[in-house]
Symmetry: D2
C-alpha cells in the first residue's frame, strides 16, 4: 500500500474518511468550518489519542485558511489575507510574552524558502526594546532565527533552536515552514496554523529533531504553507479516482531524484505568501496597521 | 484529444510511433544511436517535409546526449559530459567565425534559468580579441547576450537578438534554453543540440518570435535541456499506460496556475548542467583543456 | 597638476571658479538656483563652445537636484523626491514618443548598480501597448535594457544599445548611470539630469563608446547619481584646503587597486535612490500617482 | 586628539612607536618577522599587562600574513596563500577536538561579508561524522554558524553563539570577521589570526558582546581581514604626514553617513579572500590537498 504524504490535518482527515477500511466514524476529531475576511477557515481539533492515532498527528488545534481566491487579486486581497492569518493566529497565541520566530527550510531552494523569506517581513523588536525600553514599551519583543541547512551548518535545526531558546528565553516559539500536500489545489493557497510543534524535514521518528514543548521547554506554534505535491502521491490519487488499482510506483520517480509538482511561477508565489505570513505574524503580535508595518519595514 | 507537449525530436518520434493512428512507417526521419565518453547519443535527422510534418519540427539534425549516469558521479563524470557535449557540438558548428551565444529564459525562475546561467561558464573573448588581437589570435571571438524577460524589458527576445546581430555581425548564433519533455526520466538528464533555430517560449505561430537563419540572417544552433514535465502531459501518459481512456484534464491543473513536475533539487541540478553546457560550448569553440577553462573562468 | 575627476557640471563649474589660473569671468555658462518640493535645484547651462571648453562638458542643460535632506526622512521625503526628479525630467523630455531606458553599469558592484537597479522600479509598457493597444492607449511606450558588463558580454554598451535602437526605434533614450563626484557631501545625495548624452565608463576619447544623438540617431537624456568619490581627488582637495601644496599622490593609491570613498551603508542607499529614479522616470512619462505605481510594480 | 582606529595589532604597535609621547621603549610586546610560502608573516606577541595597555589589545598572539603579492597572481598564488594561512593557523589551533566556525558580519554589505562568505568554502563535517562515524573518522568535526545582523534577528551575535556552543559543545571556536585598518595598503591584503577572542562591531566596553574564553567557556581564535579604512583616520594620517596639525574633522564626514575608503573592486576581492580563508581553515583542520577540497566543495 502506497503511503500518501500530507502535512495538513485537513487532508489527513479526508484520507481517513476516503479509506475503504475505515467503516466506523472517526472519533476524537472535530472539524468546524467558518470564514474570516472572505477566506474559508477550517479548524480540525484532534481531541484525544484516538484522533491522534487515526490521523497520525499530535493532539492539538489545526487551523487552515483557504487563500485560493487570493490569486484572483480582488480588492484588498492582501490586507484581508494578512488580517485573516493574523486574527486566527492571535486567537491561538499567548496574549503576552516574548517570542522567537524560527524560519525553517532552505532559502536556496524555492519551494522550501517560505520560512526564511517570511522573516524578511517580520518586525524584529527584541533588541530595540532592550536598548530603548521606554520608546518600545508598546511592542512585543520579537526575535528571529534562520536555521540554515544541515549540509552548510553541520547542526540540526532543533539543536540550534534549543541553544538559542536557552539564551534568549522566549515565552514561546513560532515556526514557519513549507509543507507537503496531496492536492494540487492546495499548493500555495492554504495556510495551516497549529499549536502542536513540528518535526521538520524527514525527521520522522527522530526524537531530537522535534521542535515542541517537550524538547524546547516552551510552547511551539507552527505556520506552514504547502508549496509542492509529491509526484507519486498525486499519481496514486489520480489513478485511484480513475479506478486503476495497481500501478508501478517507480514509473513516477525520476531516474535519480525525487520529483515534485509545483506551480510554474512558484518563485513569485512563495515570495508573496511569505509576505502574507510575516505580516500576519506582525498582526497577531503587535498593535499596528498594515500601513504602519509597510513604513517600519521599508 | 489531449496534445502532449515536447521540445525533444527524440520524443516527437516516440509519440508518432506510439500513436495507434500511425499504421505506416515514419518516412523522412532517420535515427541513429551511438555513444560518446560513456554517454548514449541519439541523432534524429528530419530529412524532408514528410518528416517535418510528422514530427511537427523543422528539417534538420537533432542530437540528444543522455546524461542520466552523470548524477551517479562516476569518475570524470563532469569532464566526460563536457567532452561529449563539446565534441557533438563541434561536429555540428561551422569550423570558424565569430559566435554570439544567447541565453534565453528567466534567471529568476529556476527551471527556466539554464540559458542565462550557462553564460556564466562561457569564455567571452570578442572584446579581448578586439583590444589585443595578437595575444588572443588563438581564440574564436565569442560574445554573449541574456535576453531578459518580456515583462521587464518590453522587447521580444527575437527583436533584441536581431538588433544585436546587426551590430555585432557574428558568423552564427548559439541559443541555450530550457525545454519541455514528456518523460520524467529525461528531466535534467538530456541535452538536445540542433541546427534548426528555435521559437522561444509560447511563440508558436508568431513569425517575428523565431530565432533562425531566416529571421537573423545567420545560422542558429540550439542547445537545450528539459527541466520540467508539464503535469497534464505526465498524467495523460500515465493514465493511458494504465488503460484509462477518459479523464478530466482539469483535475490536473492548479486552481489558478499551470503546474509542472520537476526534481526537488532543481536549483542544484540546473546549476551543474549550466556549467556542463557552458564548458561544452567552450570545448566546441576553443582549443582548451578543461583545467585551462577553470583557470580562465575563476 | 593632479586632474580632479567629476561627472557633475555643477562641480566642473566650481572647479573652474576655484582655480587660481582663471582670473576672468566664466563665459558661456549660466547657473540658476531654484527649489522643487523642498529640494534645492541647480540648473547649469553650457551655452556655447567657450563654456563647453571651460567645463570640459558638451553644450546642454544640466539639472542637479540636491536630495541631502532625503536622508532625514521628513514627511513625504520619498514622494517629494520622486515628484522633484519627475517634474524636472518631464520638463526636459519630449512630451510624446516611445522611450528606451538604458541601465548602465555593473549590477554586481554596489556603487555601480544604480543603473540596472533603477530599471526594477520602471513601468515597462511597450509590449503591453503592442498586445492590447486599446487598454494601454493611456500609457507611453517604455522599454528597458541592461547593458551588462563588457567582460561578461564581449560587447560594448554603446554597440548593444545601437543595435537595440535600430530594432525598437524609440523616439529618444534615457540612460541611468553612477557618476563620480569630488565632494563627499554629494555622494548619494545628488541627482543630475542632462540632455547631452554620455560616454560611459572610461570611454574618454573613444567615439564609438558614446551614447548620444550622433551615434544613436535619437536624443539621449542622462540621469546620474554620484555614489563614490575618487580617494585621490578627495585627498588633493583636503590638502589644498589645508594649505599643503605638494604631496605624494601615490600615497593615496592602494597597492594594486584604485580606491574610492563611499558611505558605509552604500548598499541600502543605492537601493533607495534607484527606486526614486525609477519612480521619477515613471512620473515624467506616465500620468500616474505614486500609489498607482506601487500597485502596478508590486 | 583624534583616535585612530585599527583592529590590527601590527598597526597598534606602529601607532605606539610613531607617537611623540612615547619616548621609552615599548615593553611587554615582541614582534618577529618571517616568511611563509613567499608571503611575509609578522608575529606580534602581547606578553603582559604592560603590552596590553600600550596597544589596547588583550594579551596573546597576533599573526599577520601579508598577501599584497597575491593580487599580482604569480604562479600558485592561491594555493600558496591557502597554505600560508593554513599552516600558521594550524600551529595556533589545538591539534584535536571539534570546532565551531562563526562567520560574523553582514552578508548584504560587501566589505562586511567576509565572515559569512568564508563559510561557503568551509568543509562542514560534524553531521557526516555523526551519521557515518566509520567513513568520516579521518575528518575533524566542523560546524558553522552565520550570526546574521542584529536588526534582522534581534539577538546579539555573542548571545546566539553562546547558545549554540552550549548545545554543540565544540572544543574551540574560530571567528571570521572584517577588520578596520588605518593603512590603505593593508586593505584586502592582510590576514590577521589571533588566539585572543573578539568583541565584534562597536561592542567596545560591552562585556556580554565579547566572544572569548571567558564568555563562551572554550578558546576562541579569530581570523580577520581589513576591508575598509575609516575615511577620517586616513585623512588624519595624511595631513599629519604633510605637517598639518589642525584640521576640521567634520570636513571628512558625509552629510549624514559615516564614510569608508575601499577598493573599487571590493566585491571581487572579498569573494576571493573569503575562499582563501575558508580553504585555509580547511587546511589547518583537515588532512586534505587543495584539489581534494575543490572536489568536496564543488
Amino acid at each position: 500500500m502506497f503511503a500518501k504524504r500530507t502535512d495538513l490535518a485537513l487532508e489527513a482527515r479526508e484520507l481517513w474518511q476516503e479509506s475503504a477500511e475505515n467503516t466506523t466514524k472517526l472519533s476524537g476529531v472535530k472539524a468546524i468550518k467558518t470564514r474570516r475576511e472572505g477566506y474559508p477557515v477550517t479548524r480540525v481539533q484532534i481531541l484525544d489519542d484516538n484522533g491522534a492515532k487515526s490521523l497520525s498527528k499530535p493532539v492539538g488545534d489545526y487551523l487552515t485558511v483557504d487563500l485560493s481566491t487570493f490569486w484572483q487579486r480582488k480588492p484588498d486581497y492582501f490586507e484581508r489575507a494578512v488580517r485573516a492569518i493574523g486574527a486566527e493566529l492571535k486567537a491561538m497565541l499567548p496574549q503576552e510574552g516574548a517570542v522567537l520566530v524560527v524560519g525553517l527550510g532552505n532559502s536556496a531552494m524555492t519551494p522550501d524558502a517560505i520560512g526564511p523569506l517570511s522573516l524578511e517581513s517580520l518586525l524584529i523588536t527584541r533588541h530595540l526594546r532592550a536598548a530603548m525600553p521606554r520608546q518600545f514599551a508598546g511592542f512585543r519583543a520579537v526575535s528571529a532565527f534562520r536555521t540554515g541547512v544541515l549540509g552548510t551548518t553541520g547542526v540540526e535545526s532543533a539543536e540550534a533552536v534549543r541553544g538559542l531558546v536557552k539564551e534568549v528565553e522566549p515565552s514561546f516559539v513560532i515556526t514557519v515552514d513549507a509543507l507537503a500536500s496531496r492536492r494540487l489545489g492546495r499548493v500555495c493557497t492554504t495556510v495551516q496554523m497549529s499549536d502542536t510543534g513540528i518535526v521538520p524535514g524527514s525527521g520522522v521518528g527522530n526524537y531530537r529533531a522535534a521542535l515542541d514543548k517537550e524538547t524546547l521547554g516552551v510552547p511551539v506554534f507552527c505556520v506552514g504553507v504547502p508549496t509542492v505535491v509529491d509526484a507519486a502521491t498525486l499519481a496514486a490519487d489520480l489513478l485511484e479516482e480513475s479506478g486503476v488499482e495497481d500501478f508501478d510506483e517507480k514509473r513516477l520517480r525520476g531516474k535519480n531524484h525525487p520529483l515534485m509538482v509545483t506551480p510554474r511561477d512558484i518563485d513569485a508565489q512563495v515570495r508573496e505568501l511569505s509576505k502574507v505570513i510575516g505580516y500576519g505574524i506582525n498582526w497577531a503580535l503587535q498593535d499596528l496597521e498594515i500601513s504602519e508595518m509597510n513604513a517600519l519595514l521599508s
